[in-house]
Amino acid sequence: MDFTYNETQGMIRDTLARFLADTYDFETRQKMIATDAGRDPGIWNALANELGLLGAAFGEEHGGLGGGALENGLLMEEFGKVIAIEPYLQTVVIGGGALKTVGGAQAAAHIPGIISGETIIAFAYAEPQGRYDLANIHTTAKADGSGYILNGHKGVVYCAPWATHLLVTARTGGSTRERNGVELFLIDANLPGITRRDYPTVDGNRASEIYFENVAIPGDALLAGGIDLIDKVVDEATVAVCAEATGVMAKLHEGTLDYSKQRQQFGQPIARFQVLQHRMVDMFMEVEQAKSMTTYATLHLDKPALERMGAVSQCKAKVSRGAKFVGQNAIQTHGGIGITQELAIGHYFKRATLIEGQFGSADYHYDRFERLVIDEAA
């Protein structure tokens, strides 16, 4: 057992932290969000080519630095600290994760483009009726010659307006909620028959509703592995989002602490009031436990599926609850100024709020944990 990061990992984190400190202050972020594109592509380009960080989690055979989930977690935590709007989760963690798992020619074809920053992937998995059930899918991929024909509607696809590729879940067979017959496809984002309705999300990102109408895709778009592969990729994404949450929560706590020392009421800083001190201690404990859970789940990502899913669900349930607690109490402690757009704190709160539900709420993950761990042992 060893709970320390190695030297390379420390360097990777420091490199990103320094870069973001220089380029991603709150005002700059707000300006990026306000542009038509909703982001500054120069940042992504710099991450890829100046810093070489987009390869941190890929093997050397693909031109990466040889890391994996731990490196993803370190970077996601740093992104969380500045509430970054970069497509790292979708492109590297999810798209890259799926490609690493299937390996072979598909990995060799796409990973270099991810590392160089040219390829941006959006993950089109959610559907309006599906909630968090990854197998609750209407979208179909019907075999047609050597390829498939895609039809369906995917909802709230983060980063889709920027994507060069879409990672799509679709049915090749089976009924709506059946696990069998669900497959994963990596396709060009601009194929004929794909239409998008783009919009901003409440946490400052961009997303789309995506409609597939008789979209012809090639046979080698299929990333073989079915729902088990999708489960694995989404588990990795879930833990990455928890790592992001630890950055967001740490900043919510830190910002609240700083503000409480400055804000004067009744002739003294409000930090002197014990009721607020104890609340900030409770927030601190949630931040620490979120870090612990993220470490726990990260170290379970390579375990057999049942163990992995149990650990990931415990992690997400705890982090979701913690993110809510820390976010709400950060706003409450700030008072009126906390509910304005003026301070960064409210924007961290918005991201924390959406993280709560991303890839499953606390209730969803407690359900999954109970089903996999408690019922199984009964």
Binding site: M1, F3, H278, Q289, S292, Y366
Partner: protein
């Protein structure tokens, strides 16, 4: 970073398992499980076996009799002893005064007391709290006045756990009544057989006699039994409290506690299904188990820091707060699980009552345990005090 055991770790685990299964006293098996009240000889039986093996004080430096285990080995040890339901050794000598003596004591004090703590020859108790000094420990008033080579001690201590068995006690006493509160306190080692000491039982909610009042009337304590400098006892007290808090998380035994609740809830029927299939009950178990995982990994992170040379600091208050809350929730859920049969009070039966016990065995101690464990958020510095410590020492408030 990884959480895999090395081949050496696994060999160590097998060695520990084999040792426990071959050496844990037959008459103690299952005792902890049912929450039977344990006597002095029960604790000492296991203590002596571990001492003979050299494993009684894993946390101590090797030079004083520690095992030199890695943090991983210590983790394995606590896991395996909990897994086998071994009783927990009394902490007052091994985890509390022992570390104070080897950290602050004179060579003579170390030579005299440490071997007898390790062997179990001396049973220790802790003289900290007073009727007027609970959370505000530094307001203590038991006073020690220098008279030649002795201190003459007068005052009253309370909540003194297992003092009825104690050979020695470590006491915080006021040696300078004029100094600022924390600055006039000294740390004394007191022979409990000294004339002038009276121990009186306090019976707690579950009916147990665990804690006592200790009265001191003109008790003469040789100056050589003072640890560290006069009026600097608070330094020892703070050190001890931080030490006490890390062990207080109780992760391994809480894991067993949750498994016990699941066993109960599989046996108890709730309509046409086991209680564990009741979604509301099951959710409480899932939340408890998740919170315990969070505590376990927080403790492991803190142990990793310790291995890297950072001593347990104020963040160990977090382990105390969360660990004690979880211990309480376990007893709360166990009592909830047994339904009606939490009610019968076994101490209500006369001596020699040979009737068949009432209700399922697993129900007998659920209510007393629940009542008893309310202590966990109060002792060792109440959880509110732990909040104050984190606020001040970690958050800088």
């Amino acid at each position: 970073m990884d959480m895999e055991f090395t081949a050496e770790d696994l060999a160590f685990r097998d060695e520990v398992r084999a040792f426990i299964s071959e050496n844990y006293p037959q008459e103690l098996r299952g005792k902890q499980d049912e929450g039977d009240e344990l006597g002095k000889e029960d604790f000492l039986a296991w203590h002596r076996i571990l001492h003979k093996k050299g494993w009684v004080a894993p946390a101590w430096p090797v030079e004083y009799g520690g095992t030199g285990w890695t943090p991983t080995q210590r983790y394995i040890w606590s896991e395996e002893t909990a897994r086998a339901d071994c009783i927990r050794l009394m902490p007052f000598g091994l985890s509390m005064v022992g570390p104070v003596i080897y950290t602050f004591g004179t060579p003579e004090q170390k030579a005299k007391f440490l071997p007898r703590i390790l062997s179990g020859e001396d049973w220790w108790c802790q003289g900290y709290s007073e009727p007027g000094s609970g959370s505000d420990l530094a307001s203590l008033r038991t006073k020690a006045v220098r008279d030649g080579n002795d201190y003459v001690v007068n005052g009253q201590k309370t909540w003194t756990t297992m003092a009825q068995h104690a050979d020695w006690g470590f006491f915080l006493v006021r040696t300078d009544p004029d100094a600022k509160q924390q600055e006039g306190i000294s740390f004394l080692l007191v022979d409990m057989k000294t004339p002038g000491i009276t121990v009186r039982p306090i019976i707690t909610l579950g009916g147990e006699h665990e804690v006592n009042e200790v009265w001191l009337e003109d008790v003469r304590v040789p100056v050589e039994n003072r640890v560290y400098e006069e009026n600097k006892g608070w330094t020892c007290a703070k050190f001890l409290l931080a030490h006490e808090r890390t062990g207080i998380a109780g992760v391994a035994s809480s894991k067993r506690g949750i498994e016990r609740i699941k066993d109960i809830a599989r046996s108890e029927q709730d309509g046409d299904r086991p209680l564990l299939a009741n979604p509301f009950f099951k959710r409480k178990v899932a939340e408890l188990q998740t919170d315990l995982t969070a505590l376990e990994f927080t403790e492991l992170r803190s142990l990793a820091g310790e291995a890297a040379g950072r001593p347990p600091g104020p963040e160990s208050s977090l382990l105390k707060i969360k660990g004690s809350e979880i211990q309480q929730r376990i007893t709360e859920l166990a009592l909830e699980a047994v339904g009606h049969y939490g009610a019968p009070y076994f101490r209500g039966f006369g001596e020699g009552d040979n009737e068949h016990p009432i209700g399922p065995d697993y129900a007998h101690r659920t209510a007393p345990s629940y009542f008893n464990m309310r202590k966990t958020t109060i002792y060792g510095g109440s959880n509110e005090i732990q909040h104050n410590i984190i606020a001040k020492m970690v958050l800088g408030l």
